[in-house]
């Protein structure tokens, strides 16, 4: 008998989050306000999981988890909402000393993920030398080049993830996916640095509908890395998933304005503590409204 179909990896957001355990290290894909798996992040806020180490090119994913008190440690280079430069939820938590920090250069973050992906303990770099990055992160060591140059370099340690949460444009049931936006960011490295990878997608489609030879170049990582697939249309909202929808700046402004105890409670009630994803899409103005949000123009 010839096997063709393979095993479906389809899950729900609740099933993905139900598999998370307190204290896990979770990498969140995307970049600031772009292609963040926000529906999965909201599912974490709804769940009881806590004491997470979050690794992220941070945007509202970090702010929401900080507001909900789920972060034990943050591994990051920045947290930004781009057009609104500061995420007020992150800001409040950071100023209160709410979590441990590994604050590193955003390129060091890439190297840490790459080291984990390549299964080496560290990668050498000049980045970080001469700065407070090394003073605030005593666990990051330097090494001396074994070659005649004798250069002192930073040994960026591998950043192993228990779980990576990523959002893609299209996927089939087995995790063959494409990212049609202009930048895959470092989702490929997060996928390879993680023990388990969960992918949310704007559209679930049959393999043949997703891929042509040309389109295959938009695949960032192969299905053998993918543990589970969740169909969540507009699942990156309020961040963008180009070409489908842009950054919802109005919603992000509301989110930022909710960075008070009362504000957060009502924001949660209005946008997070909802039973279905469709209810969320209705709460933020419906699918029609989100699809009309233009991609950002800088």
């Amino acid at each position: 008998m010839v096997a063709t179909g393979g095993v479906s990896k389809l899950l729900t957001a609740a099933e993905v989050v139900g598999g998370l355990r307190d204290g896990m290290t979770v990498g969140i894909g995307g970049w600031a306000t772009r292609r963040k798996p926000m529906a999965l992040v909201r599912a974490i806020v709804r769940s009881g999981v806590k004491d997470l180490t979050i690794v992220s090119y941070g945007g509202p994913d970090v702010g929401m988890l900080a507001a909900a008190g789920r972060i034990r440690k943050l591994v990051f280079g920045f947290v930004s909402l781009d057009v609104l430069p500061l995420d007020m939820h992150y800001r409040n938590a950071r100023q209160a000393g709410a979590f441990e920090l590994m604050e590193i250069d955003e390129g060091m973050l890439q190297l840490g993920l790459r080291a984990a992906a390549w299964r080496v303990p560290f990668l050498p770099t000049r980045v970080g030398l001469g700065t407070d990055i090394l003073n605030h992160n005593p666990e990051i060591k330097t090494v001396r080049s074994p070659y005649p140059d004798g250069a002192v370099l930073v040994a960026m340690p591998a950043l192993k993830l228990d779980v990576a949460l990523l959002h893609v444009t299209e996927s089939d049931e087995r995790g063959n996916s494409v990212i049609l936006g202009p930048d895959p960011y470092f989702d490929d490295l997060m996928a390879r640095a993680a023990t388990e990878v969960f992918v949310s997608c704007d559209r679930l489609a049959p393999t043949a509908r997703i891929f042509s030879h040309e389109r295959a170049r938009h695949q960032a990582f192969e299905r053998s890395l993918v543990t589970g697939v969740v169909e969540l249309p507009f699942g990156a909202h309020p961040t963008s998933s180009v070409p489908g929808y842009g950054i919802d700046e109005a919603h992000l402004a509301d989110y930022n304005a909710a960075a008070t105890t009362d504000g957060w409670a009502s924001f949660r009630a209005q946008y997070i503590d909802l039973v279905t994803h469709d209810e969320y899409l209705d709460a933020v103005g419906g699918r029609g409204r989100i699809s009309c949000i233009a991609p950002p123009v800088y």
């Binding site: 920045f78 990055i133 123009v297």
Partner: protein, 276 residues
Amino acid sequence: MYRAAGLLSVAVTTGPSYTLAELVAVQCAEVWRGQGEVLATSFGIPPRIGAGLARLTFNPDLLMTDGEAYLLAEPVPLGPRAASDARVEGWVPFSRIFDLLWHGRRHALLGPVQVDRYAQMNISVIGDYARPKAAILGARGLPGNSISHINSMYVPNHSTRVFVAGEVDMVCSAGFNPDRWPEGRVPDSLRIGKVVTDLAVLDFGGLNHAPRLLSVHPGVNAEQVQAATGFKLERGADVPVTRAPTQVELSIIRERLDPHDLRATVFKGNPPGDRR
């Protein structure tokens, strides 16, 4: 002693009138004079105008991105426009941006929140690291930028709060403090271009990379600049006056690069460039 390109010490005021934002944008452009075929990275309105102006006038070789993932074949105007208006000449996703910048062929014009006499910059937190008074962005790419390629600075609010006495609260970008380097040896590769502010143009080209005053904007005097700076600036007996924008530069800024006059929002009251 030193004469930086693009500065004129002649205090003539017969040219076209211009705003402070326009003068500052032109000095931002000057950052890339003679820099060759490098990626110009800029944040904020005058730096973005400046990069476009440099590209359209004295440095046509500059590379520029759209802030997203593409290299632009020509500068795009600030403000509302159709995304499809931008002609592209390449693709630079973030992974390639890191490859490019660590390779060194880039000159960024950065907007630090604090700067010290060692040219160290901070954009992470103000105050105590564990319980900061103000959390800002995080170190971002400053550690990598500072050790990989030349950087300049744009400071729209020249004051002792930005140009601090002592060291910045968190050293995000590497600088010229020997105590922070193995065996006290600052790498030769560490380079700072210019510092463009609302009062003056500085650099770190003095003795042992000491900060120095290159020019004061029209109507500002050297004592004012020194008083607004938390560390000593080297300066000659006669500090040149920052040159006025040319008519050609003003036309390019007003008609091509910033047609919606976003630059009018940069400085309170949109003051004239010549404050004499």
